[in-house]
Homo-oligomer: 214 residues x 2
DNA sequence: CTCCCGTCCGACCGGTCGGTCGGTCCGTGG
DNA sequence: CCACGGACCGACCGACCGGTCGGACGGGAG
């Protein structure tokens, strides 16, 4: 239980395993856990189903691995933003910008993250590690908000509700792929539309949360 | 009363069909289309699978019927709110309150609505009717925002982005069932937490969108 | 009474699901 | 040279999938 025989990533075959994760990521993002069979993943990667089970012991663990990798990337972005910020409001702004950057860099991430937030896969032991990373990400955002409110830089508001609102404004928006494009009549992930989303979110949270001292 | 003109629904068997819709609604909300088999629905309702196919010709049409019923209820709420409002900001506030009321009345509605917004089931002919109702709901919200901005009651902002934000603040929040309760440490659907959510959303949109004339 | 029709059922169909198994191929170390 | 182990494959398993079919049951109309 403490430490597995083989150390972390052996990195012996970066190709196949990573390709499986990439492929499964986009498939799970589009169709969800139940909507994607191991055969579909294998065929899409270009390997046999047996090879897939050679790299991941079960479907659930593949799902969990995909999520954990996604959350880790997300966490790294927010951590960098955290360190770069000089005050609470700037931290909040950087959180939003880098979260959207991370979401936009890989269009599968938003739907994937959204699914993990509202689908009832929890209490699954295989997902535990990924859940832990996700909790870390959310705790970082909550801590940023709490600190800003305590110091008077941000308006006092229920922290968890604000976290939920921030997720809704960022993750949800970029998760509405086809529907969103139909609503906007333009590609959701174009540079112009991304910039507009960032500006809108930042404008919203500035008016709603920032305490103007000048 | 003897020979009634059977224009309305025959309503001969309100029991079974409605029970199927209710059961399928909560199952689809939790596990999605691919995650719920017809056997599971039938067993949960307490009828045979054949009876299920007697009332709905296919799984896809059951899915569509569940969604259409949900969206129609939603649309009725927003229509009532629309008629009750005396100005643009009050309309917006009533939209939020009645949307949350509709979401809270049946905990399956938020996840169901969320799924239909970001899952790629569109271009399915069976879902067309439900999609149309959904479009009507969104058009109503967009029209309310546009009218308010044109009359100067609301701050100018990209309408579609604001619609997305409103959905994110309401639907997404109540769709995060288990996860949300874990985050809040309290039942998401308790009266107190619902009130808090309403207050938070209304506070947010007031600061971000309302033009104060006084 | 018979006939019909809506409601519901058990049994069954071809196909797909996650997962297993035996075995092949190949690079590496002794 | 051979032995070994990781990567990979085709064939297969029982369970389950959406959907069909023939018939049972019961109440209302002729």
């Amino acid at each position: 239980m403490t430490g597995e025989p083989d150390v972390e990533e052996v990195e012996a075959s970066p190709s196949t395993r990573e390709k499986i994760l990439d492929t499964a990521e986009s498939l799970y993002a589009r169709f969800g856990f139940a909507g994607v069979g191991m055969r579909a993943v294998a065929e899409s990667v270009g390997v046999s189903k047996s090879a897939l089970f050679h790299h991941f012991p079960s479907k659930r663990e593949l799902w969990a691995a995909v999520h954990e990798r996604c959350f880790l990337e997300f966490d790294a972005r927010l951590e960098a933003a955290d360190a770069r910020a000089h005050n609470a409001y700037e931290r909040l702004r950087l959180f939003v910008e880098s979260a959207i950057d991370a979401l936009v860099e890989n269009p599968a991430r938003a739907p994937l993250l959204l699914r993990s937030l509202f689908e009832v896969d929890n209490d699954e032991p295989a997902d535990q590690a990924a859940r832990a990373v996700l909790q870390r990400v959310l705790a970082r955002v909550a801590a940023g908000l709490e600190h800003g409110m305590a110091s008077g830089e941000l308006r006092r508001a229920p922290v968890q509700h604000t976290v939920q609102t921030l997720i809704g404004m960022t993750v949800f928006h970029f998760a509405t792929g086809d529907f969103g494009e139909e609503l906007f009549g333009a590609p959701l992930y174009s540079a112009a539309e991304i910039r507009r989303r960032k500006d809108h979110v930042i404008d919203f949270i500035e008016r709603a949360l920032r305490v103007t001292t000048d």
